[in-house]
Amino acid sequence: MRALPLIPLLLGGWLTVPALAANSSPQASDWLKRLAQAEQQQSYQGTFVYERNGSFSTHDIWHRVQDGKVSERLLQLDGSAQEVVRVDGHTQCVSGALVPGVANTPEAAARVLDPLRLMSWYDLGVAGKSRVADREAVIVTLTPRDQHRYAFELHLDRQTGLPLKSLMLDDGGRLLERFQFTRLDTRDAPSDDQLKASDICKPVAQLTAQAAQPATGWRSDWLPPGFELINSSVRKDPQSKNAVSSLMFDDGLARFSVFVEALDKGTAADIRTQLGPTVAVSRRLTTPKGEMMVTVVGEIPIGTAERIALSMRAQDAQAKK
């Protein structure tokens, strides 16, 4: 009977969780569901701009859904011609230098936005309406519940649910990046010709499950809540000949990668830098295997990246068994 007074305490703690989830508006969650469906059901073609600090680029996109099969081609219109062709979430070809070891894994199929999962880490809300690319849009805001992720503002097409504009903002309300359509056509589906890759697009190898080698030697003592491991690999760097372990985490929206590599000469300093939405934090780590450099790269606040970098540990042999 002594435990009886504790029950309300426990119950109280449990009751506050749904109370917090109630901060999200059902309309916002419905709009995000429409967004997730639109990518799988709606054909479109258009032009968008992408902007982060000091960098501004324009791109064309062709997206066709035919018999449940999603084909997509993206082409950068200014500067170098960056091109990607994807079919059903699998990248068929890319232009430019692909990092060795980056390839499609069998489970790499498109992960869709899950409003229920997002609701645990963001407050979803409808902030009003706007007009983007001559279309009526609804503004959906995703405000982070903690300081470990950024806020998003999505302008979704009222007619189709497609994202017409996406802004990423830090905790001070500063704009980190902008994605915005300037023209969108949802009536005419792209033709085969428009979806055909040009000569600069080089095919991407399809990895089998056996060939993908997961990075098992590292673990993190601390992760920001809600982030889960979605990919891990070990690749050999062609320059340094060192094995580079990489781990990728996401919370359903934001992503970060952790890279661990042995330091040969031991001259590198710890650094932290930010490229618009993406931070990079490097920390030296002394392990029984020698000096290692842990680098966290991702679309998360710099303090969080720092804490993750400090929390990486070598997995000892016993733990692996």
Partner: protein, 196 residues
């Protein structure tokens, strides 16, 4: 039990300094008229010392006892649900307070960490910056970070990071694009890194 010990206990109870044993002793002896008389005298003395003497010889205990004897025994009040609801409310507010406290604590900790992170950054090793044109009215653009970094190139990095960081950034962007939930955005991020 000696009278002196009882009187000491009585005095301790009055001064709010009694331990549990003394309190029991006094409660056991409170039916004894002599003890009550002592108690009453002590109250008067105490009130006189504190200059709050109002009604000497007021035996509240016996008055209350008499009143209680006249009163019919009240039916067992159904205060159960209210009581536990009250407890629940208290427990819930304690929980909320604790959660809020933890959150505040974490924020302090992190803003500390971020301050620490910014400190060396100001010294020129690296320049975190995030600036852009105004978006919607209501977004503050006031706290601009120092230093434009041309086209996102990592300036001032030498040696190891010069070689490694671009590769890491590219690998992160490309893997994110391959696994992306929103199709075009991670691709645009990756493409943006190539525009140097």
């Amino acid at each position: 039990m000696s009278r002196e010990a009882l009187q000491e206990s009585l005095s301790a109870v009055m001064d709010n300094e009694a331990d549990e044993l003394e309190l029991r002793r006094v409660l056991n002896a409170v039916d004894d008229p002599e003890t009550r008389a002592t108690w009453s005298r002590y109250q008067v003395a105490r009130a006189a010392m504190h200059k709050e003497l109002v009604l000497p010889r007021l035996d509240i205990a016996s008055a209350v006892s008499a009143a209680l004897a006249d009163e019919a025994a009240p039916a067992k009040v159904s205060r159960g649900p209210w009581r536990s609801l009250g407890r629940l409310a208290v427990a819930a507010s304690v929980t909320v307070a604790v959660l809020a406290g933890v959150r505040l604590y974490n924020q302090d900790e992190i803003s500390g960490a971020q301050l620490a992170a910014q400190q060396p950054a100001q010294q020129g090793l690296s320049l975190p910056q995030a600036q852009g044109p105004a978006v919607l009215a209501g977004y503050s653009e006031n706290a601009e970070q120092p230093g434009p970094m041309a086209n996102g190139v990592l300036q001032g990095q030498t040696g190891w990071h010069d070689q490694r960081l671009p590769g890491y950034l590219r690998q992160h962007a490309q893997e994110a694009a391959l696994k992306g939930t929103e199709s075009a955005l991670p691709y645009a991020r990756a493409a943006s890194l190539e525009n140097r």
